[in-house]
Symmetry: D2
Subunit: 388 residues, 4 copies
């Protein structure tokens, strides 16, 4: 056969990205019909966020380039400067690896930067998890990426419909479900002991007493445009969790502008209260996090996990604040303002209720295969135009 | 009065930008109700493109910062790197000047970079000339800016409708017409002698013999994604114009990726043929270019001037190639492929026909005032969401 | 008087910089004969290193620009990228502030970047603490800055002589002593209670029991070119200190490449051993650190404080490893390899010996005044040439 | 054999660099004992400066990376910003290619940037043509590179002695002569017809009438720190050359800050005077330029060619202005101020005198071999210290 194999490039810039791309990578690898390039950058390559690549749960990846684009500061100014650097550094990586198409994820500020670099270099853009609404600046970023993308892989029907209404060619929109669900669907979710092994090998504290339904998970990210409130928000949650005295797994935030505020509040919590029932993790691979979620009593905070993965698992979720506004959700979610009293009430109610029926609004576990197939088959014209 | 005046920032990065912002600047200045910041960058501050700011036809502007972001090379890679640098450098300028809102124009690659920097720094974005379709990569850029923008000032009804259909709040869309038309509407268009004065003071060749209806204007820009064809395209036009032997004003291209190809073809034309009837200009201010257009026999090439300004002036236009695809046009435009034979036929037909009735599809001359008023009155929330 | 006042620019990029520039800033301010610009950047503006500017011991400064140039990663690659960004960002700041002369300090990697930016923009460079030898890559950086600098303010006679031998004009070399000594000379060094107030207001642990001569200070920085050893080095020291069980003040490292290694070892020490007798500080202003040093039993590690300030104070010092190789030192210093046994022996010996006679090899407290006078009086020609 | 081959990296950033590195590259290639990496960047990869790599006289090189670092503007600010970008972009290239040692040339502003990037990444630096004095800001740059370099390959004895006096280890200084002379020594210098072939294939004007001793060469570069004078300087020379009416080969300047001034004056000369006896070239490979120099009547301007190559060839040289101050020179050079009268007198005197005896102060043609041998054999310790 004379045709060269398509060059597909996957970009991982935040620890959550790996779980979202794992099933796509496996599916592409399995076909042996393309040349796969993996670029990693941002927090994924930084020590202080828990390096993704050293994680034994991560399949060995052939990484073409590690890209540093984070300008220290965690302010709006440095977020913009980091984005600028991302454009420039990914452009170099694209020049060196010459992909035909790149896959970007959702709504991170660097994802738009990367899509922009690709667009200007005449590389096609495929967008995973576009079309969602979320009540924060991320939404603008997500839709701007949609307008640069040639292929769309929304996670839900609503999102797919929205992308089409925005003027994207219906034939370029593939409603495949969420790839995070693929990974969950693939796991043995009953295995709770893995986290204890992980704690031992990483030397992070005493074993967490994990009785199904009797522990909490907390993940609270900064809210970019409300940046100064982040500190106060975490304090409300910290105070709630402190009082509940239940075993709790608390995940550090990602490193958007504002994460200093979140980190500071978490550090104060640790240093002042020394709360032995709370176990902090910089990050956890989905292989560990999946079983933990499956068996938790409730997930609290503003992470998308509380909306997406929790719905697939039927995990009771208390969604705090505005960050997930507009996202489709299952019956397992209670939305509350970021105030101690209402957070506490909602947690109690969820613990009483126990698990919900699993829902597939965010996918049924086959998204990766569908995306891989489409990437391989698609014939893409660089120039786009709105449909109206 | 206790309220601080709104800080409005206007960004000029290409020579055409000034004509597009002139009436807005005047109107804002006249109100005395805001603090106006003007940032200039890109080709506007470079010698070899004819510095905008030294031009006597340009009103004295109080420039806050001159911003260099162009990485030499004029390839897709350097376009991406320039965009990355633009993000970073404009972020610094925004940090230093703290605008409440910035105004970006249309669809240039750096306009998206600037809108991105503003978005990440929680500065509102107003977008002039969004919503249009154009059959090139610019269209993707334009729509991506739309998804970041909080206020929209499309030039035509079709564009306004398109923006709303893309999910923008109808109340944020103001169909004001094109600001370039404002400047035209304000000029004494019968004054053809000004160009001769300009030639004298700039030492650029002998006086052009300008008889109304008996000379041509050519402006051919590179077509970003067809980058290697640019050289050939200009050769087709050059050859046509050479044979016609009519007095011709030829404008150098802007400096997108591909302009090296255009420049090379123009230089060869000059050096090999020494065509005395063709007069080359790096750029001309609208004050000179307006009367030249009003009185020309025909405008040829792929500049938007041949679509917009020409329609308001009733100037016969031969639009070459795909660059203006999808733009609304008046009856004054003949679209042709970039082949000598058909270009020549179309020019002959237009010269025979003579001027058309002026049309106001691109505005009636009051866009600047409308934009200024809206910018001053608007109360903007940084977070946006699609309307559906 | 017709002559404009000279514009002098001081750059602070690391927390130690402020103590080194404090007396110069005061002296320049006092003359009222120049326009003083202060630029801050790097770790000085970052939360996680203890923001300099929020420190109540820092005189209120009029900061013209805050400059972010640190690319996250703390590897040799990101050190280089940070240096590149520093060149670009300081160039912008110089363009905006137009200094006649800038003052850079010693041997940090960004200091060379800043001197380079100034050189290329035809701004004169004055160099504080050049001419020293130090047995690490810093020495190359320091001498390269010397070759770009127009005025030299070495701290010792040896250093001054070395600068002249390198071919610098003797008239441009002013042996003024170390400016850090100025600050020490100005302080009430008997005041040990200030640190307790500081602990209270910063919420950092219980009051340290400070009996003169009965506590230790530790400051161990990464050694740039031995980068992977840093972790092991700190472990040796940590183990020694752990066993001694004396009250100890331990300062976090600065953030050169390799500081991740140092930080990791310190974190492990804290988390695994929970050593109550060790008190960690991100940084301490000289106003607190001076009295602590004056009254300590011994300072341990590889900080220059153990060589310079310790000599002026007569503080017994155990200098560990190669970082300070080649620096002039007083009789108060014992040099040891980074091995637990010898470190421990040396500390014991020093504690037995007690304080030494103060020495002025690093200055007598009037460096700032001398530098200020010279900066104001100097007439500088941008072009330099070697003297031979 | 168990030992890995040394990785040697050669950096070419200006068109003159190739001629300086050609004999080194050949000699290294011939040994087959190292892995050779070639990085090209700056003007070498730009169309408008005559792309080096498309030149048929350039041996086919295996280029690892093309690096874009030039920020448009040609002002001191953009020179600094270009240097900053060079640091960052070369750092990426070093990360990707992992050289053991890099070779930088002389005194260009980006050479210091590249040496800095290498230093921070623990890569050894070898410096060609250090130690010279030149009466401009380049001298500071050159000596700063010396202080970062581990191996020194000065072109003359004076330069070698100067490097040692600056405190460099005598064993690290190898006085090899100039590599440009190697290329000259290798050429058939009687072949004048090659330039006519070149003109034909490049379509640049009618054949130059070249009678030995009866034509001139002009090469005038901008003088960085006198930046606004550049325009006037070229006018003086242009006017002189215009009057002499001798066949003249005029080379365009390199693109330091100030080259806009030079270019403008050259363009005016061309457009206003249309001097048929002057033939302009963007650049000429040494293979063409060598024979042209060998047979010219006189070389005029401030290029180092008029000092170095001219001395080896015995070519009469009129050195204009301060740019080459302090460089060793043979008896073939007359130094003049940049004034028409004295330039003209000096040219006449030189044309009368005719060729001088060749001198070897700048080398005897074996520099490349010596450098290659030393690079292969050297055992380098990253840390340096001054010798006193």
């Amino acid at each position: 056969m004379s045709k060269e194999r398509k060059k597909i490039c996957i970009v991982l810039t935040a620890r959550g990205n790996y779980a979202k791309m794992k099933s796509v990578i496996s599916a592409l690898d399995a076909t042996n019909q393309c040349e796969l390039t993996i670029l990693v950058g941002g927090s994924v390559v930084l020590d202080r966020y828990g390096k993704l690549l050293d994680d034994p749960n991560v399949d060995p990846l052939v990484i073409q380039h590690k890209i540093h684009f984070l300008v220290e500061g965690e302010t709006p100014l440095t977020m913009a400067k980091s984005a600028g650097l991302a454009v420039s550094e990914f452009a170099t990586a694209f020049e060196n690896t010459k992909p035909d198409i790149i896959l970007v994820i959702a709504d991170r500020y660097e994802s738009l930067a990367i899509a922009m670099a690709a667009t200007y270099m005449n590389i096609a853009v495929a967008h995973v998890e576009g079309g969602e609404i979320s009540g924060s600046i991320d939404e603008s970023i997500r839709h701007a990426i949609t307008k640069l993308a040639h292929l769309h892989f929304p996670a839900t029907k609503d999102a797919a419909e929205r992308i089409i209404r925005m003027g994207e060619e219906p034939d370029s929109v593939f409603c495949v479900g969420s790839t995070s669900i693929d990974v969950l669907a693939d796991l043995d979710l009953s295995n709770l002991s893995a986290i204890h092994d992980y704690q031992k090998t990483h030397g992070v504290g005493p074993a967490i007493p994990l009785v199904s339904g009797k522990y909490l998970i907390v993940a609270q990210h900064p809210v970019t445009t409300e940046y100064e409130q982040n500190y106060r928000n975490v304090q409300e949650i910290a105070s709630t969790i402190s009082e509940l005295q239940l075993p709790t797994i608390w995940l550090w935030p990602n490193m958007d502008a504002g994460s200093d505020g979140v980190s500071k509040a978490i550090r104060e919590l640790r240093e002042n209260m020394r709360p032995d029932h709370i176990h902090f993790f910089k990050s956890l691979p989905i292989e560990l996090f999946g079983p933990l979620m499956k068996n938790a009593g409730c997930i609290v905070g503003n992470s998308s996990s509380g909306i997406r993965e929790a719905s697939f698992l039927g995990l009771p979720s208390v969604n705090v604040g505005s960050r997930q506004n507009g996202r489709e959700r299952g019956e397992n979610v209670i939305d509350v303002a970021c105030e101690k009293r209402v957070i506490r009430q909602a947690i109690s109610k969820q613990l009483e209720h126990g698990h919900y029926r699993p829902a597939t609004i965010y996918g049924d576990g086959a998204a990766g295969t569908a995306i891989a197939r489409t990437l391989l088959d698609a014939e893409i014209t660089q120039q786009k135009t709105v449909t109206y």
